[in-house]
């Protein structure tokens, strides 16, 4: 990794932290730091991706600005994290993603025809072809990033460590702060961010499950969409959709109110893009459900499919990747805790 200003600042700050260690009870970053004496390259990227940016350590820090040592761990790790996203990403794929997103939108617009049902507007095979292509690309790009980061963090298979890391991810252990909730968006402890993130994450999973069940219905049972309101795909999609409205809206609301001292302002556009796409995808999906028997169905379907295509194509180059790198960093941390260094 090239030595950047942020990396140099990160090394400076973590050297101070390692001599202090008052924050070791807060999260995984500090115990992981204590295993190390020098902070550069892979170690810095690992610690940066381990950080959930809860900011507890900033408010507790006796060396935080205006102290001359000017220690601000959440911000410098956020900057390093953003650099690591660029480092791990399959950079040539960035343009491909743009082309795919645009291509999908145009394809849907040109392929549309009239009719009362979804597949009259966009033929099923056409839809599958477009999303199949995008998914293939997205999976490949995500896999490249995952492999690169996994190599740098040094992870390996270990069932117990995996279970521990999975639990940390699924419960957002490090946004709990021992039950008090983290110091986000301000110094006051609050569980809001964790719950809004849960809404977003589990909402996303429910929507994904909805699509999977629908595919099973289609291919396995020969039952074609649209499905009744009380059917499993629609129920999963509705609950997931509501989660994807509440979660991203809440996270955006918190982000607007957050203490600028602990944030890397350069990431605002990345965060906002992802949150907006999630919100808009969910909103149009739910509207489609309401309007599916009306004349509004065709335009809403087009808008919804275009947004889904844009969301998917940009996954490897946006905020979504934090989930992959954070999970792998937590796995590495669990391995270290089990003495696997």
């Amino acid at each position: 990794m090239p030595q950047t200003d942020s990396a140099a600042e990160g090394a400076r700050i973590l050297t101070i932290c390692n001599a202090c260690r008052y924050c070791e009870g807060y999260c995984a970053v500090f115990p992981a730091m204590e295993h190390r004496r020098a902070f550069a390259g892979a170690d810095l990227n690992f610690l940066a991706n381990l950080c959930h940016n809860c900011a507890e350590c900033y408010y507790a820090c006796q060396y935080a600005p205006p102290h001359a040592f000017a220690v601000n761990v959440p911000r410098v790790l956020a900057e390093i994290r953003a650099q690591s996203y660029r480092q791990y990403a399959w950079s040539n794929g960035r343009y491909t993603a743009g082309v795919f997103a645009l291509g999908a939108v145009l394809a849907f617009v040109f392929a549309r025809s009239a009719g009362p049902r979804f597949y009259d507007v966009i033929p099923h095979a056409f839809m599958v072809a477009v999303f199949g292509t995008i998914s293939g690309f997205v999976l490949a790009a995500l896999a490249i990033g995952a492999i690169r980061s996994a190599k740098e963090f040094g992870v390996r298979w270990d069932t117990k460590a995996l279970a521990r890391a999975a639990a940390d991810v699924l419960t957002l252990e490090y946004l709990r702060s021992g039950g008090a909730g983290c110091t986000y968006p301000t110094e006051r402890h609050s569980g809001a961010r964790r719950w809004f993130h849960h809404c977003t994450f589990y909402g996303f999973l429910l929507c994904f499950a909805s699509t999977t069940v629908a595919a099973l219905y289609h291919y396995g049972l020969g039952r074609l969409a649209p499905y009744p309101y009380t059917s499993l795909p629609v129920l999963l999609g509705t609950f997931g959709g509501v989660g994807l409205l509440v979660g991203p809206a809440g996270l955006y609301w918190l982000k607007r109110r957050r203490d600028p001292a602990t944030a890397d302002a350069n990431q605002n556009s990345m965060d906002l893009t992802f949150l907006s796409l999630l919100f808009a995808t969910s909103l149009t999906g739910l509207l489609l459900l309401v309007l599916r028997a009306s004349s509004g169905m065709a335009p809403m379907l087009l808008i919804h499919l275009a947004l889904v295509a844009a969301l998917f194509a940009t996954l490897p180059y946006g905020k979504f990747v934090h989930g992959i790198y954070r999970s792998l960093a937590l796995l590495r941390y669990a391995l270290e805790q089990r003495g696997g260094r």
Binding site: N18, Y59, Y63, A68
Partner: protein, 495 residues
């Protein structure tokens, strides 16, 4: 001498008040220079003891104003830099391992102070410590879970989650939630205690002189360790080379005010607790990260390149507190710890990288030490090292023969390049001088009586219990226990 009447209208000109024996002097501010702070209880100071007093007085129904001399970002005095409190406990808890009975706690205190303690107050402090711990939790303080021995003090001391600043944040949040008024940049410059009803005082808030009035005052404004003029009175010119590990705001103004007014002093007026810290630390507020734990693993020389004390006399936790004074006694109040590559990484990392050299001569030049002298010292030391099995965890058998001063343990030849050096300076943690109090935290004034309306808590009265020496985490216990008592007594006096 005229008794001072509380001024309902401030006088036109600053007045130097003549005080009777129970009065403390102050200059009244000019008329119209700011507002009057008034509440049942005024707490002077903004650290752990002050906030405990404020919360405790509020709990007892009093209205409370806190006058903190630091700006908000640096509030909290030396409590900002603390990490734990020493707590008696009969059985393991979620944050303390094993047990720490009253008698052992008391004997530890007697040992470090050589008996220079008010035993009655000490006993009360120890017995109150578990209750103080529980009370802290109800006020939002969180503790770090006991880490099963990884922390050396995990048995005797409860660690604040995130350290002292996190503790202060919790207290300030609680104070705000309970309607306690906190005034920052508020430096108290005078106190006046008429015989009945009110205590008044002069306070300078962000440069504007004004007055406060209360039915009782808690003085919890720390010692005088940041006041170089005062330190110079005890240490002479040498004091100018000291570093202050904590806040620059402990100027000792209230301590001086009380003592000059005849309050009875306790604690050694000429002593301070000082450790050897990295000489490159800032003059104030360097805190924990400037400490150096490498002294027992190498040798320490003065600016003439000569050793001056047994670096391996005893286990480091038992010896680190003497090195501040040892360095202070050297010419220029500076020394250097010299180690080689063998031991690098065997002590807690510190914040500044060591100075290095491929040879001892090179290192001497890099450190600005006389080359021949350092080479001579290291060669002489190396020759006298007796073989043994090196064990930094115990008093091992690696000593020296025929060396003066000897190095009793952990003596290894300094022969593996590169060689490293750290500059050392005396770093002052706190001062011992304070005011005498009773078990109700009442200050003993010139007439010999304990004042029901002038209470003291924290470092300003810690000398009652810790007359000398050092016991980790005791300062926070004193601050918490006496802060609570002072707040309660102040509220009682106000009623």
């Amino acid at each position: 001498m005229a008794r001072h009447k509380v001024a309902a209208v401030l006088p036109e000109e600053p007045v130097r008040k003549e005080c009777s024996t129970t009065e403390l002097r102050y200059d009244l501010p000019r008329k119209g220079e700011g507002s009057l702070y008034q509440s049942d209880v005024v707490v002077i100071g903004g650290g752990n003891a002050a906030l405990c007093a404020a919360l405790s007085a509020r709990e007892s129904g009093a209205s409370v104003t806190v006058l903190e001399s630091a700006p908000q970002a640096f509030r909290g005095g030396n409590s900002r830099h603390t990490r734990n409190m020493r707590c008696m406990h009969p059985a393991p808890t979620d944050v303390l391992t094993d047990s720490y009975p009253e008698e052992e706690y008391f004997l530890d205190l007697m040992r470090v102070t050589s008996g220079d303690t008010n035993q009655q107050l000490a006993r009360m402090l120890i017995r109150e410590s578990p209750r103080a711990h529980a009370w802290m939790r109800t006020n939002g303080v969180r503790f770090q879970r006991a880490l099963g021995g990884t922390l050396q003090l995990g048995r005797t001391n409860a660690f604040f989650l995130g350290g002292g600043k996190a503790l202060l944040n919790a207290y300030y949040a609680a104070a705000r939630a309970r309607g306690i008024q906190v005034v920052y940049n508020a430096e108290v410059t005078g106190l006046c205690v008429p015989p009945r009803e009110f205590v008044t005082g002069a306070v300078c808030v962000a440069g504007n002189a004004t007055e406060f009035r209360a039915k009782a005052v808690v003085v919890a404004s720390g010692g005088f360790e940041s006041n170089f003029e005062w330190l110079q009175e005890a240490w002479g010119e040498a004091a100018q080379n000291f570093l202050v590990r904590g806040t620059p705001y402990n100027q000792g103004k209230l301590l001086r005010l009380l003592l000059e007014s005849g309050a009875r002093p306790v604690g050694d007026p000429k002593q301070c607790h000082a450790v050897a810290i990295d000489g490159r630390a800032p003059r104030y507020d360097g805190g924990i990260v400037t400490r150096l734990d490498c002294i027992p693993l190498g040798i320490v020389v003065n600016r003439e390149g000569r050793r001056f004390y047994d670096e391996g006399e005893d286990l480091w936790p038992k010896r680190y507190a003497i090195w501040g004074r040892l360095v202070a006694q050297q010419p220029g109040q500076i020394a250097w710890a010299i180690i080689d590559s063998k031991v690098l990484g065997k002590f807690m990392p510190s914040v500044f990288p060591p100075v290095s050299g491929q040879t001892i001569g090179e290192l001497a030049e890099a450190l600005g030490l006389p080359r021949a002298a350092l080479e001579h010292t290291v060669a002489g030391f190396n020759q006298s090292v007796t073989p043994g099995s090196f064990n930094p965890e115990a008093l091992d058998d690696c000593g020296t023969t025929g060396l003066s001063p000897p190095k009793s343990h952990w003596a290894q030849r300094i022969d593996t390049p590169p060689f490293f050096g750290y500059p050392l300076r005396p770093g002052i943690t706190f001062t011992y001088l304070g005011v005498e109090v009773n078990e109700r935290a009442q200050v003993r004034l010139a007439d010999g009586n304990y004042s029901p309306r002038i209470l003291a808590a924290g470092e300003i009265m810690a000398g009652n219990i810790l007359g000398k020496g050092y016991l980790a985490g005791l300062g926070m216990t004193i601050g918490t226990v006496f802060g609570r008592i002072a707040g309660l007594e102040a509220a009682r006096a106000a009623n």
